[in-house]
Symmetry: D2
Subunit: 344 residues, 4 copies
């Protein structure tokens, strides 16, 4: 960490800063840069509460050389085991999560679950509690939808993922789901992160559409520091000036996150693009740059979906994406282990 | 509402859309625009759940001409009465909310509260629960801080505002605070909005740093449609590419919001700029464009603040801002009622 | 086009709007939506100057259903032929453009050109005129650099691409380059677009880091409407709140642009990410989602590059990317023509 | 400047970096921070070309503590004198620039010029060359419009400002205008900046809607380092995710820029908001936070304006803004010199 001091301090004032740093057990070195003198802290301060340093007087600003997310960083070569024996992350083949935006008719959901399983999907998604911008829009069927998901699991054997938005909803969801989803609007809901961090379910943490990589990894650190090591990251598009797509899918951050943590990281091209015709090419791009899986909205008749119809695809289109994923994963694997690379 | 149909529909398909709209009791008109045919809905559909229309087949997209926030829109000439007899909003003089980022030493807080009251502030702010990006940073003193705030209220008579982040924290805060604050990170936390909507406390709703005006007003609509009409809006800066300031203060949206609702709207220049030297000019600008109040971080010795020290100002600086506010409010009032304007 | 009228117009005022529209030869239809009455224009108005309609009184706003870029849209199945016999775009194998950020030592450039040609690159890039944020930073070797590029072309046979920023630089570059590059900072420089539109060289048009898809395609329309049909689009990252990467690579817009135009579209992962370790995964993602080529900064010793060293890769790394590109192109091609897709 | 080295360097490699720095005449100090060792440069390196340092091997990244804009920074207490005897900037009363978006009918312009002069405006604006997103939209009347502006100047005595987009247009404009305007789309057009930097006209430099404060001040540095000290900065809104307003007016950066340079800085609320009803409140806010002037689109009948009609105001509305400006300037001046502030 580099401490930039205010300008024109007296020697006595600078000494005072040094004494405070020493009383925290830190080793510091003075550097007479221009126009501001700086102090370098030579220790690793990644989990030291920032205010212990920042409340020392005479400091203009702090420059961190290292981010405070030791648990996220140290989780090496992690793969998360699913109920159906599959492993998520590391070098395992990509996992396909598919299902409708919101759970509606029970029969329709079970029929769809059987269909997507037959086509090769690994996990069933379905919304029971829906975060909607308007209070007058459909908010999900709640407990009824959770029960429908539980039934679908019993019949198909597919693990279930569903979104929760409050401690109360976590309690309701626990008996029915395998993976608790934290949606993009709740990534900064730290009380909820602590709550799911105390549960024994795997958590899928979507990136907030306004979150930096650093904030996202620290949100994962909240869950992990509460005791839950099974976190899957999910990129689903960020908010930018571009309005042609619903959001801007940020695949560079997927590649970047893979270099910072071994937590599995997947991509949701449905919410990222909001456009049915862009989902397949973005699914391909996600797998090509190393995503550990995909989360995709599927509806038997997208035109009749209760929400987000313009981004749902048909089961037939899902088959195409699954075929793409398998072949691209093989290609990438081959390229990663080819002699050319070994030589260079 | 304008419905843009998919291209190349048959007459029968278009008729099917009309029948569905009729079964919802809506009056529709066909418009043969190019390249897509459109259908105009002639009724007011501002609170009709969107999915009832959007799940009709053959629809490409919906263009809303009106936003679904009737309660926010209809709250005309609203002023919110505070415990100490002051009124917030409408044409009342601006309200000054001031206090430290986080509540720390009880004696220090009470001394500060007495000081800012003497200088003319109207409401005491202080964080008991702090949303922090890192789980390793200081998270607030919780219930102890709430009790300290309650004590400060008894001694000074100043109403209290403090942030809550979960249903549990709402319950803890109710006995001690007059205004529940929803912070920028929880504006999309719809379960929390419903929770404070069911309480009888005034709610201060900060704009999420990623929220559009529409999303912000709909978040207020969540609180109001749950039964609580006493909502104060607070602009505190949005996230943009500009990193010189902590956020980008969006005063145009303050002026725009005033034209959409009569809910009081205030500005937090401390979090918006993150820079002590920019708070005073931005406080001036906020009052000049019609903000109903200011929320400002004050610390007796900003250099020693536990968090956000670079954006806290001293009580003396607060006095300057209060003097600015009073004189600018008078100037604006005079201009709004001058003959020149009456004539034009 | 939908015209939203101001509220509370008299019948006579609305009639006046209709007369103005008729005098422009347009067919219009009144639609009594609430709260604003609208008028639909039933003709195709994609190249009608907007002001002819917008200056009609009583209009609140215009909603375009179609963008005004007929040339960009109608350029079907276009492939651009290069001097060395290769074709760019359509279904041709991806083109690899490689070279240093700035041209420095002639011998070094020629050695590098021979090297990247041997490794399979198709076009040599190199900056003669460098747009730099600071006037005190290196601005390129100008004409000397152009001559060096010309020499490299003679020796290697590789076509040359280099950036121009003014009419004067276009004149200087014409004898030496095959493709004129419009950089991200000059995409809105419409006078320059007209200038290169009047030349007979192929133009590579980078997306401005702040441009919407619409603005980008209209910039291409500027070049095409000036007479030059040979335009290649290049996505190089947009400016967002995320600062971990230099820019945010927007691959969704690559896929979207391919559905709007048949102009070739390539990706520059070097400037998009600004981080050497992210270039290879993003190059893979670009090819997987259908990019027609890649533009990559290569330096024999990136550590000694005069600019943008942290985003330059070595010739060995280029070999890896070329191998990736070839195998991924084959995989994608196979998937696009597999029976599965034919059946659905 | 702080140099962050790559990790795991040998002592010999670090010594090599030191030798290179010494050969540049720089004094450096080693700082053994974790996880990366850093080197602090103790000299002022604000105008040292970055590549001289960045091309030294073994460097991971550079952290500048000071921006490279010495001319912009050192221009203390600057006021720019106008042809009509008025002074722009410093503590002079705010300057009002007003006029139509585009110059159309000569008689109409002259009538408007006489009107706005009578109402108290100081400078006449009017577009001769219009940067338009679509090549099919109205591009301005060019030389004819410049001549009309020249005539308006002769009749009214008002100095003239008009936008130029190329070296050729600069030559055309020189005989007719007093201030050359660089528009938001050309702020990064460094060749044009150098061109106007070589002229003897005052330059008004609009901030690009995607520019950071740093980039904007460096664009001004381009003009000043080419020999022209008379630069006026103009904030006109930045591009963000918020689409309710045309752009997001960034007044914090106006206040920030005033603390970095004494160049005059004005605000264009017309383009920033794009909404007629928001111009007056934003003009007030701009003056309140210290802007040295305003640039406002005025049209005798905004409904009939050829472009940007929804953001033009009437001459009567301009009178209101001028009255606001005068009274707010007096209020601010009084506050800046009140005893209260003197005491604290």
């Amino acid at each position: 960490m580099i401490i930039v001091l205010k300008t024109n301090l007296s020697n006595q004032e600078i000494e005072e800063v040094f004494h405070k740093l020493e009383s925290l057990g830190l080793t510091a070195q003075l550097v007479k840069t221009k126009p501001n003198t700086t102090i370098a802290i030579l220790d690793d301060v990644s989990t030291l509460p920032t205010h212990l340093i920042s409340q020392i007087p005479y400091i203009e600003k702090l420059i961190r050389l290292q981010l405070p997310n030791p648990l996220v960083k140290s989780s090496k070569n992690k793969a998360i085991k699913l109920a159906n024996g599959l492993s998520f992350g590391n070098n395992n083949p990509p996992i396909i999560i598919a299902g409708p935006c919101a759970v509606d008719e029970p029969n329709e959901l079970i029929e769809l679950a059987l269909d997507i399983k037959a086509r090769g999907a690994h996990i069933l998604r379905g919304g029971a509690f829906k975060p909607r911008t308007s209070p007058y829009d459909f908010q999900g069927h709640g407990l009824d939808a959770l029960k429908t998901l539980g039934e679908a699991k019993q019949i198909t054997g597919l693990p279930i993922i569903s979104e929760v938005m409050s401690a109360e909803q976590v309690d309701l969801a626990l008996p029915y789901v395998d993976i608790l989803q934290i949606g993009t609007r709740n990534m900064y809901n730290y009380e909820l992160l602590k709550e799911v961090g105390r549960s024994d379910k795997t958590v899928l943490l979507k990136r907030a559409f306004s979150a930096t990589l650093n904030e996202w990894l620290l949100a994962a650190e909240y869950i992990m520091s509460a005791g839950n090591e099974n976190v899957i990251l999910c990129e689903r598009g960020i908010r930018t000036f571009e309005t042609y797509t619903r959001n801007t899918l940020d695949l560079s951050i997927v590649a970047a996150a893979k270099r910072q943590t071994s937590l599995p990281i997947i991509v949701d091209p449905s919410h990222a693009t909001g456009k049915e015709e862009l989902i397949r090419p973005m699914a391909r791009a996600a797998i090509a740059c190393g995503a550990h899986g995909l989360m995709i909205e599927v509806h038997p008749q997208p035109d009749k979906s209760m929400s987000d119809k313009e981004q749902a695809i048909t089961p037939n289109q899902l088959s195409e994406i699954i075929a793409d994923t398998e072949m691209l994963y093989q290609t990438i694997n081959k390229l990663d282990h080819s002699e050319l690379i070994a030589l260079t």
